[in-house]
């Protein structure tokens, strides 16, 4: 019993971070059709900014908020200066975001060195649930992940801006004919994706040691999750993150983290064969489609 609970909490920790990172990547990919290879680096900047803010004396939540805003601004600059020329050239966008990622990693390496010794403590201590002690902070991360996803989902469904973004991603020309400023919408989508990367970076900052390539470790999984999520950004990403977090936790608990990675690779290969539409395809069945 305790093993089940411990695996469950292990999974929920990973789930929260997977969810936020993949969602940011998925929004940029889904709306702009651009594969953002610098997404991990945006996350890394978020983590560094949070640690700097906390070390400067700010409380952690404020630090995370600041990091999110900072990375969102960075996303805005990136979009206005570079990305908006590349919306119609996805392959060139890959090269360019690759270049940006190179610059960011190397700049962080030059400024902060290869490892950051000043780690910030993860707040909240531990909770005891059914005899298992669970770090409170990591549960909080999961909760924040779910709230952020649900909030964004509601925003995409209920607000005018959200409707505009969906319209532009569906049919840019038609959306433009209805008077939607498609360029501005793309920019907003990119900034939103960047902000999510910053948020994810801020949230993981207290739990891992800082390295210039820390974001890449997460983005690896995020890419896979975007693949198996399919075309429904929110529901697909949610289900895929949950499934992969659970699979990783179960296999890692039973056989070690080595086989955890292997199982994700295997699951991806099998999934794309039997379920080409990804997790979104499950939701196509009429009764569930309402979700």
């Amino acid at each position: 019993m305790s093993a089940v609970i411990s695996v469950f909490f292990q999974a929920s920790q990973i789930f929260g971070v997977f969810l936020i990172v993949s969602l940011g990547l998925s929004i940029i990919y889904g709306v702009l059709g651009v594969m953002n290879l610098a997404h991990g680096e945006l996350m890394t900047i978020g983590a560094y900014a949070t640690v700097l803010a906390v070390n400067a004396g700010l409380p952690l939540p404020l630090g995370i908020l600041l990091a999110t805003v900072l990375v969102a601004l960075l996303g805005l600059v990136l979009d206005l200066a570079i990305m908006r020329r590349l919306y119609t050239r996805p392959t060139d966008a890959i090269v360019v975001t690759f270049g940006v990622s190179l610059v960011v990693i190397q700049a962080l390496l030059l400024i902060f060195g290869s490892t950051q010794s000043s780690r910030i403590p993860s707040p909240g201590g531990e909770l005891t649930i059914a005899g298992e002690s669970v770090p409170t902070y990591r549960l909080l991360v999961t909760v924040v992940g779910i709230i952020a996803t649900y909030g964004l989902y509601l925003a995409f469904q209920k607000t005018k801006l959200g409707t505009n973004i969906r319209a532009v991603s569906k049919d840019e020309d038609m959306a433009g004919c209805f008077g939607i400023d498609t360029r501005a919408t793309y920019t907003i989508a990119f900034v939103l994706g960047a902000a999510l990367a910053g948020l994810a970076g801020g949230l993981v900052a207290p739990t891992i040691s800082l390295t210039p390539s820390l974001g890449q470790g997460f983005v690896v999984y995020a890419f896979v999750i975007v693949v198996v999520a399919g075309e429904r950004t929110f529901q697909g990403t949610f289900l895929a993150s949950a499934a992969y977090a659970l699979l990783d936790a179960v296999v890692s608990y039973r056989f070690g983290s080595f086989y955890g990675v292997l199982s994700l690779l295997g699951a991806t290969l099998v999934l794309i064969r039997i379920l080409p539409g990804g997790f979104s395809a499950i939701l196509r069945r009429p009764r569930l489609a309402a979700i």
């Binding site: 998925s26 929004i27 990919y29 889904g30 709306v31 059709g33 594969m35 290879l37 991990g40 570079i82 590349l86 119609t88 050239r89 996805p90 392959t91 060139d92 890959i94 090269v95 360019v96 690759f98 270049g99 940006v100 990622s101 190179l102 610059v103 990693i105 190397q106 700049a107 390496l109 030059l110 989902y153 469904q157 969906r166 991603s169 569906k170 049919d171 840019e172 390539s213 890449q216 983005v219 690896v220 890419f223 896979v224 975007v226 693949v227 075309e231 429904r232 950004t233 929110f234 983290s257 080595f258 990675v261 994700l264 690779l265 290969l269 099998v270 794309i272 064969r273 080409p276 979104s280």
Partner: protein, 375 residues
């Protein structure tokens, strides 16, 4: 809600053909010039330079395999670096498990075949699952990254294949050197072997398009649905391209392992995985000869930057990539072709000599002159 992913047209991904294709005559002339250059180089340069250049050549093999799969075959794949690394590992493992006199030769021949079989396994799921173009890119990217993560975790005594330890993030050291007839292969021989494999690959990729089967491959790459309606077995064609590209990349990986006598998961960082795609995109993705030259120039530049001011090298490189792509959409190869074509049509029959900056522009010049500028 749904966000459409299938919104992009194939042309937006560079799957459809671009104007200004290389011509058979131009490609042959450029190939001959390159061959001559490769033949002269080891006699003109000191041995150390020749040794260093072998690693450049292996990277050029990787980049050309990318052109084969992506630019020519229309498969937007990030798996080439993975097959390159797998080739290096396969060679090290096979050669390490056999006798020192015969093992390396056997490994040299069988390692690409092993990788070909692995690629066929992966490709079966991808192509027979009829995966979309952009999705394919992400799946192959994840595959490569996960392979890297996987190899990083193979440290310790437990992870070995036969006698060879996989070595985790240290990789496999002391890869068995190559012997031919009991004599160890020296720097110059290794150089010529690698250059021969590279040139054979470049010749195959750049001339295949003009052959009968190449026309089928182009049809499948440019419009899969239309090709299928004409009776082409699209899935088999794409699988064929994928596995041959994998085997060629694996051959490059072997020579990399031979060159440094080691192999490690650093071949599979995000940078290493995307680099061949990036170089192919810069050169103009369907130009094998341009891609080879771009890979060599890139290696040379990054080498010099690294020895100059190590820490700023990647920043300069990153900024360079961004600027190049913003200034020359569709790659430098196409841009140069266009400029030279404009120059040629402006100056009439007075065909100028190739630009003096080196043979880097040769194939673009010839392609431009025969394709009428390739607007």
């Amino acid at each position: 809600m749904t966000l459409s992913i299938g919104r992009l047209r194939p042309s937006a991904l560079g799957i459809q053909s671009r104007s200004g294709h290389p011509s058979p005559g131009g490609s042959r002339i450029a190939l001959l010039l390159c061959t001559a250059g490769f033949l002269i180089f080891p006699f003109a340069a000191p041995e150390y330079t020749v040794l260093v250049s072998v690693s450049f050549l292996t990277f050029a093999i990787l980049t050309v395999s990318q052109v084969h799969v992506w630019g020519f075959g229309g498969i937007f794949s990030f798996a080439q670096a993975a097959f390159y690394a797998l080739g290096a590992y396969a060679y090290a493992v096979i050669a390490g498990n056999l006798d020192a006199d015969i093992g390396p030769i056997v490994a040299l021949v069988t390692a690409p075949l092993v990788v070909l079989a692995l690629a066929a396994f992966l490709g079966f799921f991808i192509f027979y699952g009829r995966m979309g173009a952009l999705l394919l890119g992400i799946v192959t990217l994840s595959f490569s990254l996960m392979l890297g993560t996987f190899l990083n975790q193979t440290g310790g005594e437990n992870y070995h294949i036969g006698k060879v330890l996989l070595g985790g993030y240290n990789g496999i050291n002391n890869v068995a050197p190559l012997f031919v007839g009991g004599v160890p292969v020296g720097t110059t021989t290794l150089y010529f072997l690698t250059a021969a494999v590279l040139l054979a690959g470049v010749a195959a990729v750049s001339l295949l398009r003009f052959w009968r089967i190449g026309i089928g491959i182009r049809a499948v790459a440019e419009h899969p649905v239309r090709a299928e309606l004409f009776g082409y077995n699209v899935r088999a064609y794409r699988l064929g391209i994928f596995v041959t590209g994998a085997a060629f990349a694996a051959a490059g990986g072997e020579f990399y392992a031979l060159w440094g006598s080691y192999t490690s998961p650093t071949l599979l960082t995000l940078q290493s995985i995307t680099l061949p795609v990036v170089i192919a995109a810069i050169a103009g993705r369907d130009r094998a000869i341009s891609a080879m030259l771009a890979a060599l120039v890139y290696s040379l530049v990054s080498q010099n930057l690294a020895s100059g001011g190590a820490s700023y090298a990647l920043i300069v490189l990153g900024v360079g990539l961004v600027v190049v792509m913003l200034v020359t959409p569709g790659g430098v190869g196409g841009w140069v072709t266009k400029q030279v074509g404009r120059l040629l049509s402006g100056s009439g029959k007075d065909a100028p000599a190739p630009p003096s900056k080196g043979s880097g522009q040769v194939d673009r010049v010839t392609a431009g002159s025969t394709a009428g500028g390739g607007a």
